[in-house]
Symmetry: C2
Subunit: 308 residues, 2 copies
């Protein structure tokens, strides 16, 4: 089983409006709700790839109850820890005229010290049967900034490969605890290292503690700096669509490839094809299975050079 | 007891953001939730004025459950009829830099024929002990456009004075059923009558069936066309603030004055003072009790002329 951690899970709400105009009043057309948060997205893609996936993190309040109700019919296993606070909502307001999206993200509930302890017990128990673990997304209020570092250390103690996908100070602290894999995007990598040159920045992130760094470069695919070499995986053409969840699909591709012990070129092909197939899917966070199968043999993976 | 009907009740959510920018991503600061819908606002103000108030209409789904939980500690009595659909949310996005608000209103749940019948039974039973009834706001999907006309007729049959506060076709149909009072704003009155001259439009609305028409004219206060004469009630100065709920406070002022059998000038002074005190209150839909007491003796009520 593959475990994903989402400390700041969300109910993703989508509003369709003709066009969003600041300071005006709008009638919302369609309203959609889905379980959200990066680790939940990763787990959904993992189950679509045939893996058993368990999600943990926090859920609470009326919004948390809706999230769990929407999660129940999915093949993902719910091991979210109950909290007193209300799970956050993220709102995507889509202009039906242009398809452009305005995003409004609630901060999330404050998590108490006792709730964090209950989560650590759940996490440690789940590690006992996990083949890999992904730590995904932002930290809710009340969780200390070194939380991911602690979760990385516990995974390493349990001998479970750990992927960290976060940003800012939680990434900086987490990377120092020596995760097996980090998957920053270009902005997150630049924020961490001060460099916008992906190869240099990826090497820097490795020196900070990550065993392997896979940088997601949008239309330029993925750049992987492993202990042995550097790989670049590029999609056949720029795909147009909704990029929401594309990074989470890449994480699912990398994790599944790790558990299946695939060679790096195959892991990266899978991650890039899943990511592109997610951009192509009409619903945010889903992937187009046919597009994925078609794209998979078309990903160009090249070895760029020995690692510095 | 005074009864208020809100067929399309809402959970009012307020997001604070630095400034809303279309197609950008925003971190929401504070998130607030309150029970909303015009009839619920009217009932809250009525209880603050010392009246017993009962709210009916529809509530359902997880959002309806939150709305009822938030209503429970208030002095308003909850007689909402349960439905299978999910109560709508209204979202106010407030720019903290300017105080300007962007409004996003969900359409509301579809109400079934059986749910409408259950509501009619509840409404008719409540009319038996009501001193007055207010019918407030928009109709949810599935409710026929003549619904307010039916509710006006039932109130008249029960001998209960009825105030109608809605717009568009539901107002046009409802007014033909001869309500005691309608309270359109300038836009609603113009849409109904085709005239933007308030006195002419108010007389026209009376000819369409309303016993008395009280038009709310924003900073110009209220214009009341009764069977006997025309009154205008004007606040001492333009008040600045959030106008959300000002019209609902005016309805509460008119209804309480009707039940207390106050002369028209006192009813109108109360309605205008409550309305202005609502604009001045920091929270949307609340009123500033001290401002209300100060404003009340300052409202200028003049008889404009005999009705045409």
């Amino acid at each position: 089983m593959i475990l994903t951690v989402t400390l700041n899970a969300a109910l993703d709400i989508t509003y369709q409006v003709a066009a969003l105009t600041p300071h005006a009043s709008h009638r919302v057309g369609e309203v959609r709700e889905r379980p959200g948060g990066k680790g939940l997205n990763v787990a959904r893609v993992l189950t679509a790839l045939g893996h058993e996936a368990v999600v943990t993190g926090f859920a609470g309040g009326p919004v948390g109850a809706v999230l769990r109700d929407l999660l129940a019919p999915l093949p993902v296993q719910d091991a979210l820890v109950p909290i007193a606070g209300n799970t956050r909502r993220t709102l995507a307001v889509v202009d039906t005229s242009t398809g452009n999206t305005t995003q409004l993200n609630e901060p999330g509930p404050a998590v108490t010290a006792d709730e964090w302890t209950a989560f650590l017990d759940m996490y440690t128990a789940l590690l006992g049967r996990a083949g890999a673990v992904a730590l995904c997304g932002s930290l809710p209020p009340g969780i200390h900034v070194g939380a991911y570092a602690e979760l990385v250390r516990r995974a390493r103690t349990a001998g479970v490969p750990v992927l960290l996908d976060t940003s800012g100070e939680p990434l900086r602290r987490g990377i120092a605890a020596r995760p097996d894999l980090v998957k920053p995007n270009a902005d997150e990598l630049a924020q961490l290292t001060g460099s916008r040159e992906p190869r240099r920045a990826a090497h820097d992130a490795r020196r900070r503690g990550a065993h392997t760094v896979v940088a997601s470069l949008g239309p330029d695919g993925l750049l992987a700096a492993t202990p042995d070499t550097v790989w670049q995986a590029i999609p056949p053409a720029t795909v147009k669509g909704n990029p929401t969840g594309a990074g989470d699909s890449a994480v699912a591709g990398l994790l599944s490839g790790l558990v299946e012990q695939l060679p790096w070129p195959e892991r990266l092909s899978r991650a890039v094809a899943l990511s592109a197939a997610t951009v192509l899917a009409p619903a945010a966070g889903e992937f187009d299975a046919t597009a994925y199968e078609n794209l998979l043999p078309q990903i160009a993976v090249t070895e760029r050079a020995a690692a510095a």
